[in-house]
Symmetry: C2
């Protein structure tokens, strides 16, 4: 698949908490799930384009389940989502999370799935 050029200007982000409103308990809750850790880790380590759609993650789950997890990550402030036509694409709010919770994303990047996952 050839790289997709980002639209200019980018679509507005979907609703998300402001950086000052990020709460540690909420962010940790959003990350306390292996599937969500997998999503955020892949975004951190393998990001290649502007934003990534659901399919890029190669997660073998129903779309409704993925939609739920991506929304939970956005509402907690972990990711930013933009709507591109019918598709939502995600990126990690790296600068915001590093500013508020330094070191947290390093833990996510270093995470590996349990053998049973």
């Amino acid at each position: 698949m050839s790289p997709i050029a980002p639209p200019d200007p980018l679509p507005e982000p979907l609703p998300e908490p402001a950086v000052a409103d990020l709460r540690l308990e909420t962010v940790l809750g959003a990350l306390s799930d292996p599937l969500r850790l997998r999503i955020v880790r892949k975004l951190l380590l393998e990001r290649t384009e502007f934003d990534h759609p659901c399919g890029w993650f190669e997660l073998d789950r129903p779309k409704s389940s993925l939609t739920h997890h991506f929304r939970a990550l956005r509402e907690a402030g972990v990711t930013r989502q933009r709507q591109y036509g019918l598709e939502r694409r995600s990126q990690v709010r790296v600068d915001d999370l590093n500013a508020r919770f330094p070191g947290l994303l390093d833990l996510v990047a270093a995470w590996t799935p349990a053998e049973t996952d």
Copy 2:
């Protein structure tokens, strides 16, 4: 209340995961609750004796609820609990958590409750 000398030897710890078995998703889940963050933060910042009983935390919750939260922290590997007679006392597994998830306890220590908590 005068300081209590620890028994020698200390009671055996209650069952807990080995340091190699600590899982980031489980630890984050245990910490994704304001009451538990409050417990762990107080243990980190105000620890004065060998272990601390429930009452030391000055949490205005039913004992059954506190028992649940303390057990959840222990089972996730965040705290170690020992039984002293009828009483369970807790401490944070600082060395184990720093070895496996460096920086995580700094985030907990820096946490402040939301104004609505």
